[in-house]
């Protein structure tokens, strides 16, 4: 998440270009955080010590951590702690920005501060954005007046991350009365409470979801591809239905629907959350209350 959140911000502010962000995303796919990088970031080792251990590592067949412990630069517990942090997206971003020479450490720190100020994040929220999973980040970014709708959006993000791609970016959901898009796939749940969950957008973003959910190439957004998107939505709604059930809220899931060139009218407000999956925009629509009309 951090790569897209901070990366998109940097592109928006014209601090880096789209091409540079693509290079960073490519870096993310191919690299992991080097232990020396975390050791420096955490002030456990000096740059000179990291250089020395890296040089020794090239000479002897030993791991970086092993040599650093032997040399007395790191304690064993410190090493274990650093290994846990190796999966932190923020650290990989810093390493990537340095390796690709897009920014230096001081610049990253300064831009992070302006980003934090712009969105008014607290230090704790910033820590979640820098080190958290999609679940952690969605817990702070996704907020609506209806806790069930927020839950539903978070389930969408968790399952996009699990089944479709881990290159995700999303913004806070906004209220709307109507919404139009070239392609739409959605499902209603009716009963004690009415819900609607839909994915809308361009052909290629819905196709991307269809392909990755079904695990096969799909050249066209036809009935078969729509079916895959519908089944993915059906599974997400099912997860919400089970949670509703625990609170004794009874809903029935209706068969999903799809449509080209549609407009959705909600008599109560619906929420629209923009999500980027590998940088392709999908609008996730969710509503509760009155049923929606699709034209």
């Amino acid at each position: 998440m951090f790569f897209r959140i901070f990366g998109n911000y940097l592109v928006e502010e014209e601090i880096i270009t789209e091409v540079q962000l693509d290079a960073l995303m490519e870096y993310k796919r191919k690299n992991h955080v080097r232990l020396g990088m975390i050791a420096m970031e955490e002030n456990k080792m000096t740059p000179a010590q990291v250089k020395e251990v890296s040089r020794l590592q090239a000479l002897v067949d030993k791991m970086f951590g092993e040599i650093a412990v032997e040399k007395g630069y790191l304690k064993k517990e410190e090493l274990a702690d650093l290994i846990i942090q190796q999966s932190a997206p923020y650290l990989l971003f810093v390493q990537g920005a340095l390796d690709t020479k897009i920014m230096d450490k001081e610049e990253i720190a300064a831009h992070l501060q302006t980003y934090q100020d712009k969105y008014g994040w607290t230090n704790e929220q910033m820590r979640i954005i820098k080190f958290g999973s999609v679940d952690d980040v969605s817990a702070i970014i996704v907020e609506t007046e209806d806790e069930w709708i927020s839950d539903l959006f978070r389930l969408v993000l968790r399952n996009l991350n699990r089944f479709i791609t881990n290159d995700l970016y999303f913004e806070a959901p906004k209220r709307m009365k109507t919404f139009s898009a070239p392609h739409f796939s959605g499902q209603e749940m009716v009963g004690d409470k009415n819900f609607m969950l839909s994915f809308a957008g361009e052909e290629r973003s819905l196709l991307f979801i269809a392909e990755n959910y079904a695990g096969e190439k799909k050249p066209l957004l036809n009935a078969d591809s729509y079916d895959s998107v519908c089944e993915f939505i059906n599974c997400i709604n099912g997860l919400l239905a089970r949670r509703l059930d625990e609170e004794d809220i009874d809903v029935e899931m209706l068969p999903p629907k799809y449509k080209d060139d549609f407009t959705l009218y909600a008599s109560d407000d619906m929420y629209v959350m923009p999500v980027r999956i590998e940088n392709m925009l999908v609008m996730v629509l969710a509503s509760s209350g009155q049923r929606c009309v699709l034209i």
Binding site: N159, R162, F163, A210, Y213, A214, G215, E216, A223, D224, D227, S228, C230, E231, N234, C235, N237, G238, L239, A241, R242, L244, D245, E246, D250, V251, E252, M253, L254, P255
Partner: protein, 120 residues
């Protein structure tokens, strides 16, 4: 080798299940139905060893189809595979004689295990 009938309105879901049943478990799928009513008819015509039954489907849902299949053959083996895993629904399906219950989205390994157990 067991004979399976897949009842699910989603072509994607049917394809995924067929893949697991045929390629990972080495059984055969002798029929696919896209709603409960077709599923009951195909059960009656094909006599499969195991039925996988979705719940949310148009025309006739999986609960009603389960009931009708059990009326045709109380010994029929029916696995409910569905996203709508509400407690009431599960109770109803179990009362009607459902043999297993698998929640979507399923983990590949768990579905393989359950299908293996039932098709033996």
């Amino acid at each position: 080798m067991a004979k399976f009938l897949i009842v699910d309105d989603s072509t994607t879901s049917r394809k995924m299940l067929r893949e697991i049943i045929e390629h990972e478990l080495g059984h055969i799928v002798i029929g696919e139905a896209s709603d409960g009513a077709k599923g009951v008819k195909m059960y009656d015509a094909l006599h499969p060893d195991v039925v996988t039954m979705d719940i949310t489907m148009p025309v006739m849902d999986g609960i009603e189809a389960l009931k009708e299949i059990k009326e045709l053959n109380p010994e029929a083996k029916v696995i409910m595979i569905t996203a709508a895993g509400q407690a009431k629904m599960i109770t109803k399906a179990v009362d009607l004689g459902a043999d297993e219950f698998i929640a979507k989205p399923y983990e590949h390994s768990s579905i393989v295990e359950i299908l293996k157990k039932l098709a033996l």
